[in-house]
Amino acid sequence: MPVEFITERLPELLLRTREHLLLTGVSTGVAVLVGIPLGIYISHRLWLRPFTFGLVGVVQTVPSLAMLAFLLALIGKIGVVPAIIALTLYALLPIIQNTVTGLEGVSPDILEAAEGMGMTPRQEMRLVKLPLARPVIMAGIKTAAVISVGIATLSAFIGAGGLGEFINRGLSLADTRLILLGAVPSAMLALYVSFAISSVEWGLNERRRKNLGALSGRPGLLLSLAPLAVLFLIGGAGTLWQAGPKGAVKIGSKNFTEQLILAEMLAQRIEATGLSVERRFNLGGTMVCHEALAKGEIDMYPEYTGTALTAILKSETRPTDPDEVYALVSREYLKRFDLRWLKPFGFNNTYAFAVTEEAAEKSGLRRVSDLRDHAPSMKAGFTSEFSERPDGYPGFRRAYGIEFGKVLDLDPSLMYDALKKGQVDIIIAFSTDSRIPGYRLSILEDDKSFFPPYHAAPVLRAGVLEEFPEVGAALAQLSGLIDDRTMQLLNFEADQKKREVAEVVREFLEGKGL
């Protein structure tokens, strides 16, 4: 990995590390403050034990992303709060479990002696049970903290920041270096956290420090707290640093390249008006973005008409005329969510048949209807989803009356390579995929408008345009600016050439005189 790749991102790396520390620190801290008293409470009431362990255990088995999505829906916020709640829930089990196990492990002889000498239950807990259970409890805290560091990487999906930001971005842009930039520090952090907690455990164990001279007393205890204190300082400093001015307009995006480009374009246009912008990109999918927008956590994000129709509105009618879909979606959004659709960017990111440029030239393929004579002798590569969906291959055959000689089910990531290598003659692609220019492929025009339209446009809270009238004007200039080919090329710059999204967008807007 080139050094400048890291040095360029060092300030952000520090910021993300701090965010990560804050997420794990607060959640583990809360889990300790709640879990230990709860563990103590349960240890007195054994009938509560199966109940509580069952409950916390069930929470533990909920997949992290599902948990985040659920909390998002429940409290209607993206960002740090739902992330911390989720992390705390995950951290609770090991802490409660180890507290109960540790307290139960104290031998009855010892308890009898404690009781027999006249200790009150409180004194017995403080002087005997807790100190004896401490190593087990500390082990639970360590487990919880390490789990937290790991799961916190997922918090980026709901805009909570942390090292997961790099991982998400790396996944969206298919950039391994970015993934490593998030994953490696997070793994190192987990090791360090584990070390810091072991150090505290060492410090609390007076007996182990007994023969260490100066370290046997208070200085040793203080020294043992130092590694943990370092984490607090870094995390705390991070919070102060972050407490700077918030952006006036909050822009979100889903987690793939095209969305990042479009969102960045919105951001740069709005910044050009002098307003400040907060980028809350890379949110975990359509539902997260929509919830965040509806709840006012973000002000806008780019959405596709077809996605809005099926995934959000869950509409029964599926018109294929682009204008009709756009009109339906914008009407319903305003009515149901008080959200506005601006004019589309221009391109349509939908299913499209792709062949190599040579094949297109040789056989004169420009439109889907041109396939009629060639199809019986062609080998097609489809995703299994396209092969199955009623509005996929089955519907297509009926609409065009065209059937391919042979159909292979391929993984989306392998499909393009299979076409390039000549293993198949035609594939079902997405019309703005960066591999279309990258692999020199040709898209066939859907002349019977069979595929549902997926035109991208900014969706925003109706209030934003009233509050900042200049935003409407700035974004209006983007309408119709990007056709399919342009979007393919922009995706190509970011995906294949691995260029910075911000730079690609700036260059594009300058080229358009904006």
Partner: protein, 253 residues
């Protein structure tokens, strides 16, 4: 002489098993009473009822003439020294801390605590400088037993309950500790209830002996009274058994 402890028709059953079936006796001020009986006869149960670790099913227990059931159990326990069967030292505390923890509960100042801890460790023959800073697992079994006794003595309670404190020891060490306890008895003048199943230990230490069998008191008296006039078959048997055993052993060789 005053009655320090008084049990009147005390019974205890644990859902179904009758551990103690109507026991009455008294322990006089400064007297050592040994509860003697075989395993499971209810000795520990009786002891624990005296410091309210176990509540009797029925009957009355008085200490210095006052019914303990009307008193705060924590207060009752703090006024009684208790050396448990098994040792029960706190493994996370040094021997000195183990001994002084009772004083800590009573809120003694630091320097008085330190002095008293040294004093009782000396009493049980543990050199405070050497053994005070050590942890329980750094002591031999016998030394741990001594530390347990020191802990029971620490707050200078008028009453001492000792449940087979020398149980796990070899005969020689056991004898040494018995002799030391006898000496200690002269100097500290305490009311002691001492539990054992070893008849010779009972004879060595007791002012009076209470023989128990299956939760019932068989006989109570000095060792002379018991030897000269055993009241029940069980007591007779108890006295004869060592002699029988010796005889069997001789015949076998």
């Amino acid at each position: 002489m005053e009655k320090a402890i008084e049990l009147i028709d005390v019974r205890k059953h644990f859902n179904g098993t009758h551990a103690v079936r109507g026991v009455s006796f008294e322990v006089l001020d400064g007297e050592t009473l040994v509860l003697l009986g075989s395993s499971g006869c209810g000795k520990t149960t009786i002891l624990k009822m005296i410091n309210r670790l176990i509540e009797p099913s029925s009957g009355v227990i008085r200490i210095n003439g006052k019914d303990i059931l009307g008193q705060d159990p924590i207060e009752v326990r703090r006024s009684i020294g208790y050396a448990i069967q098994g040792i029960g030292l706190f493994p996370h505390m040094s021997i000195a801390d183990n001994v002084s923890v009772v004083l800590r509960l009573k809120g003694w100042p630091e320097d008085k605590k330190r002095d008293r801890t040294g004093e009782v460790l000396d009493m049980v023959g543990l050199e405070p400088e050497t053994f005070g800073p050590r942890y329980p697992d750094e002591l031999s079994g016998g030394q741990q037993q001594r530390a347990g006794v020191a802990r029971a003595l620490a707050a200078d309670p008028a009453i001492l309950l000792m449940d087979e404190p020398f149980g796990a020891l070899d005969a020689v060490t056991r004898n040494v500790l018995q002799q030391e306890l006898l000496k200690l008895k002269q100097t500290i003048k305490k009311t002691i209830v001492f539990v054992t199943h070893d008849i010779f230990e009972a004879f060595t230490l007791a002012d009076r002996i209470a023989v128990l069998h299956e939760g019932r008191l068989q006989q109570i008296g000095t060792k002379e009274e018991i030897i000269s006039a055993p009241k029940t078959e069980f007591v007779k048997d108890l006295l004869l058994r060592p002699i029988e055993q010796l005889k069997d052993f001789k015949e076998a060789h």
